[in-house]
Amino acid sequence: MKTELQATSYKLQGAKMSASSPRRAVLRAASVGGAAPGLFNWLQGLRSLRFLAVSMAVLLSACASFPTTEEQVAASEPQAPELDIQSWRTEGGAKVLFVESDALPMLDIRLVMDAGSARDGDLPGQAVMTSALLGEGANGLSVDDIARGFEDRGAQFSSSSYRDMGIISLRTLSDSEYREPVLELFGQVIGSPSFPQDALDRIRTQMMQGLRMEQQVPGPQVSKAFMATVFEGHPYGTASDGTLESLPTIQRQQLDAFYKRYYAAGNAVIAMVGAISRDEAEQIAEQISRALPAGEAAPDLPRAEPLVERQRNHIQFPSTQTHILLGNQATWRGNPDHVALYVGNMILGGGGFASILTDEVRQKRGYVYGIGSGFSAMAAGGPFQVQFKTGNNNADQALSLTLQLIDRFVTEGPDEEQLEEARTNILGGFALGTADNSDIIGQLGAIGFYDLPLDYLQWFSRQVSAVTADEIRDAFQRAVDPDSLAIVSIGPEAPQIVPVEADADDSDEEAGQ
């Protein structure tokens, strides 16, 4: 059934900062100003709603008898089902993670390769373009053959590329009548891509049009500038989508070489969720692994280093809002402070409406529609980042207030009440993170790619239960130096730091009526 969601919501929908969108989506969505037509796409639209900031609580105002159900709910222990993850390696060295789920007659497969733009070297855009060309021709099959082959059987194939990861996704019906021919085709598409010259030229043109369209709006420009500023000289600082200078120079042999090196079986994680047996899963994993080029895992990237002093980078742009990003290199996958930073960030600015930044900057002052903070841990680094957009005349105030709130949180850490709210939030909502196959495949991909233990989710929740306010404060002090946060902005004028009063007048609110 086709419907589409054209709506305006109460809360900002979270954006993934390290993502590089598939070309089709970029050009289509942009061409209709956010109300993209397209068949059967409404559910995908809804999915994005799921990535709304998961909120969390600060102190509730006194409402003694309301809600009457609160006591009952507080007393019930939330269920947190454990995923039964099975894992093994294929002969070719690919790591497999599998969860059997027969509730629906479908199968999700996700290949996660260490093949993101961090591997671009001197050729920005190479990883994204390699990914985009999968499905454009393989083993004597034309792009039309491939598209029909999947779509005739109701299968959905896609590829995407991020800073660390190249991801290939397949969703098919699990019944063997559909699954087998789809997997046969999938093997050819991922295992023998032909990188046709005409497809390369077409996609290059599309990507370049995409880059030009990004210059029409402030958001993408400032995000790129932020990564380039914070990760200057590091592979994470490269523009994943390439540049108008780099894209024209990319040759098909380079894509082919990139593919052979980074889409190798030994560099791949194969995640599967769906209505197949362990035996079938093993066969499928072997089939996929054999199709991929032989080769080993990519070497580790150099660890990113934080900026030691404040950098300011402002882009002049005639927008009605000033977009401001604050941040620095702060973490990485495997950081022992990971959980403390995660919980602390929920309190500071990652927890939506209950977090300090939303409460102070939006709720109490109305400066912004959305403000949030986050740590994005990747293999070799990961920024702490605070971002917001505000009307130009509020930019100085909003920037100064936000800096002050960050500074105070880093200095003082959370109080016990804030910590308890964050804990009940994270632990209470655990079941939502593995509720459907789409959630589970995402968890499996991350666990496999970052070499996390199979019981990572349980481990994580135990750590959340145990973390203390002091540990959070200390972890923030190790990770975030408020004085060296880069300030990257876009708008008519560079925002200035001015004196502000960080304590919002709560009395004023009470007086409201």
Partner: protein, 442 residues
């Protein structure tokens, strides 16, 4: 090949039948409609409340009001202070949000299932006892103005689309943006929001949807406890909004601060709600699939890959609406290709649908996609709640997704040609050319 696809499609039916899940419907004495979808795969629940009130119900001078009221629903009640709602949801591990569309406004909470009683109590409280404080209202209006700047004012394509809609859907509430025209939005007053709330936020105008690891036996007493005592209230009539008789061919030429030109085309067509012949809805759905149902459909194959006229293009039928639907084509030309050339190519695609029949293989492919989606869509509890709430709010059958494939299968190639000839005609068409301002193009 054709037979192979047919066989595959027939096989798909048995699979989708297996994926059906129990749905229960009941109505309280005060008129509140309740829908319960049982899905016991995971211990989670989604609670939604849908109101038959969207931006198309706004008078011309109060555009943006439906959405501002949506924001105010989080700002406090008799028993909850501003922001307490979301803080309570968060404290118990939930997530919540709301959205306003042309036809409806909806609110949702998602939780681990033991939180269900809290979810219902919170929804009932703000349905009964919302408090709109003047000062809170004006502060939130500032937030909404920022939202508008972010979504529209600083995005020339979004601004162009907004201007295009005003021309493309004349005489209806769909002609103004959901978020409201900037100047009118800034002048909204708290009393207007209170009036909106009194008019539309009553049980008889709402549908409560509960989806997830629940049974009817479990939820019904809770629903009764929190919602049964609310007074029924009454709602003003909502007239049907159609573009009929046809508005005539319309052309809009826009010079915007864009780097890449864009083309929009929109035909005013019936929706499932307004269609006299419901088969037209299914035939238009099939037609949209033939044009743009995937990477193998005509637009991607011919315009993007073979002729390389466009860097990106799309076609879509929005037929699940309370008023008339739309059939939209949009495109970003390849460098060096003019908007006139792209428009001619898209018109030629439409003409071809009017003069020759689609292949059986193309139609079978669309059906395969629809049938498979019926299985895939069940993966999301939130998606299921969305579907039930939207259909109920539009007055459509809530099992539409189960009958949809059967109805689509009845569509013949001749039906597709007939709706192309009947509805995709010049007097129902609006076209916009969005060109870079002088000196902007690269």
């Amino acid at each position: 090949m054709k037979q192979l696809i047919m066989a595959l499609v027939v096989g798909l039916w048995s699979l989708t039948a297996a994926a059906e899940l129990p749905t229960h419907a009941f109505t309280l004495d005060n008129g509140l409609k309740v829908l319960v979808r049982e899905d016991h795969r995971a211990p989670v629940v989604t609670v939604m409340v849908w109101f038959k009130a969207g931006s198309i119900d706004e008078a011309p001078f109060e555009t943006g009001l439906a959405h501002v009221l949506e924001h105010m629903m989080f700002k406090g009640t008799d028993k909850l202070g501003p922001g307490d709602y979301s803080k309570l949801v968060a404290r118990y591990g939930g997530s919540d949000n709301a959205f306003t569309s042309y036809d409806y406004t909806a609110y949702f909470q998602q939780y681990e299932v033991s939180r269900l009683p809290l979810a219902l109590e919170l929804e009932a409280e703000r349905l009964a006892n919302l408090k709109i404080d003047d000062e809170e209202f004006f502060r939130e209006l500032q937030v909404v103005m920022e939202e508008r700047r972010m979504r529209t004012d600083d995005n020339p394509n979004a601004l162009a689309w907004e201007k295009f809609q005003a021309v493309a859907r004349p005489g209806t509430g769909y002609a103004h943006p959901i978020i409201g025209w900037r100047s009118l939005l800034s002048q909204l007053q708290p009393e207007q929001a209170r009036s909106w709330y009194r008019r539309f936020y009553v049980p008889g105008n709402a549908t409560l949807v509960i989806a997830g690891d629940v049974t009817r036996e479990q939820v019904e007493p809770l629903v009764q406890r929190f919602f049964a005592d609310l007074p029924a209230g009454s709602t003003p009539p909502r007239p049907r909004q159609t573009v009929n008789p046809p508005a005539g061919e319309r052309h809009l030429s826009l010079s915007m601060p864009v780097k890449v030109p864009a083309l929009y085309m929109l035909y005013n067509v019936p929706s499932l709600v307004t269609a006299e012949n419901k088969r037209d809805f299914y035939a238009l759905t099939m037609l949209a699939g033939v044009l743009d149902g995937g990477m193998s459909a005509r637009i991607e194959t011919e315009l993007v890959r073979q002729q390389k006229l466009v860097a990106g293009a799309g076609a879509g039928y929005s037929g699940i609406q309370r008023g008339d639907g739309t059939f939209t084509l949009s495109a970003t030309p390849s460098p060096g290709v003019t908007l006139e050339e792209v428009e001619a190519a898209l018109r030629k695609q439409v003409e071809r649908l009017q003069t020759s029949l689609p292949d059986a293989a193309e139609m079978a492919r669309v059906r395969a996609g629809v049938l498979a989606s019926q299985v895939y869509d069940k993966d999301s509890v939130m998606g299921q709640a969305m579907e039930l709430g939207m259909l109920s709010t539009l007055g459509l059958e809530t099992d539409l997704s189960e009958t949809f494939a059967d109805e689509l299968a009845k569509v013949t190639a001749e039906d597709v040609q007939r709706v192309a000839k009947t509805w995709l005609v010049a007097e129902r068409l609006a076209v916009a050319h969005v060109q870079p301002q002088r000196g902007e193009e690269q």
